[in-house]
Subunit: 227 residues, 2 copies
Amino acid sequence: MSRTEFEPIVDTTRRAEIVGQLRRAILTGKLSPGQKVNELKISKEMRVSRAPLREAVRELVQDGLLTNIPYAGAYVINVVPKDIEDAYALHHVLEDFAIDLVWPLRDQRFAAELDRRHVQVKEATRALDTTRQIETALQLHSVIYEWSDNALLLDTWLRLARRLQMYFALHQQARDEPVPDVDMHEDYVRLLKGKDIAAAKQHAREHIDWNFAELVAYAESLATKRK
Amino acid sequence: MSRTEFEPIVDTTRRAEIVGQLRRAILTGKLSPGQKVNELKISKEMRVSRAPLREAVRELVQDGLLTNIPYAGAYVINVVPKDIEDAYALHHVLEDFAIDLVWPLRDQRFAAELDRRHVQVKEATRALDTTRQIETALQLHSVIYEWSDNALLLDTWLRLARRLQMYFALHQQARDEPVPDVDMHEDYVRLLKGKDIAAAKQHAREHIDWNFAELVAYAESLATKRK
DNA sequence: GTCAATCAGATTGTCGACAATCTAGCAAGA
DNA sequence: TCTTGCTAGATTGTCGACAATCTGATTGAC
């Protein structure tokens, strides 16, 4: 029996590639909220036929990043303050649950993984790469979900995370300000490795909320502009 | 301003119809876990081309009812005990959250809707229509999510509900026994209309678990059989 | 001028055919 | 006997073309 473990072969279909590109385009604001996804135009630009593109669109619709109206087209979802509030409320609940589940499962590898991703966040922050910073920060949060040993919870989180990534990206892109403090996640990581679950939960709660008000305000400004 | 409210036009694409049929087939066990979804065969049976069928499959893959392996095909998801446990754990958390949210929003129409769906469950139960009984019972549970005014939570619940519907249906189909008591949801509905939120939560928790052990045992029997 | 009917252009939905890939079975060689 | 290479058949992935539908502008009647 071989000891080496091989990675599964990566999806090598055009469809998967297209999904990736479209998702990135949405999450980085290259496709802005409300914008229509023109199949013919995009398929030409990507040099693929409409079939795999359409299948990719179905995936993103199911993902919640696009909405579809039959015979009218697919549109990037809009962002209104209520969406942000809903997402944050759900995030609180899921994070709490994930910490409960992960607490007895934490081991040395868990701590190592937390540190590894924390480093990535700090690197992206120092490099002033906001897009990557958002991405790595969410990946850091993903650790507890990945280790909570509940596939459904992880799946639910990943869906939510994509929404959050979109909100953050839009916001950052709009204000174009210096990135937040490098040590933002210091306490978060430390408490997750510690012994006080109540403190960890409490801090996670506050940590999640750090830019909540700002994001809602941004969504409101969007709504007013749209009028 | 018109006072009458019109329903949105139903999706009138073949794709939507196909999604419905496939979903029903999976949720009723017509397509059993692990079974392959042969595109050519099904498209012929449905008298449609493969294009809309494939798009429908993408949706169901994203929904979590199918898994896809490139160039190999789409398969109905398997059911293992851990899946049931994960689903129930998440259900507890979501139900708790939903009750919190819905509590201050309850009004007379909320109570009426609870009653209406409760009646449907009882009718299905009396008619010995197990499939419909499962469907209506989940729709009864959906009330609190629909009224909780959190679109993301509702979306998350609907995903979970489909998984649960599949588990229940498989189980029922396997044991082929008389359906449970007609008054099963009596307390659930009564407490949701009452004033004691703690009692409502507590009962919801127990109510959710009523057939948990049975379902896990069934999944285990499946797993052993598969060997 | 207002409103309804009509029409052209653009876009989405669907189809049938072809290309790429996988699987199972068989044959050849060590 | 086991492994390797090959082949044929089936299935999935992709393509280009056509049909159905929507949108906006134009026309014409009142």
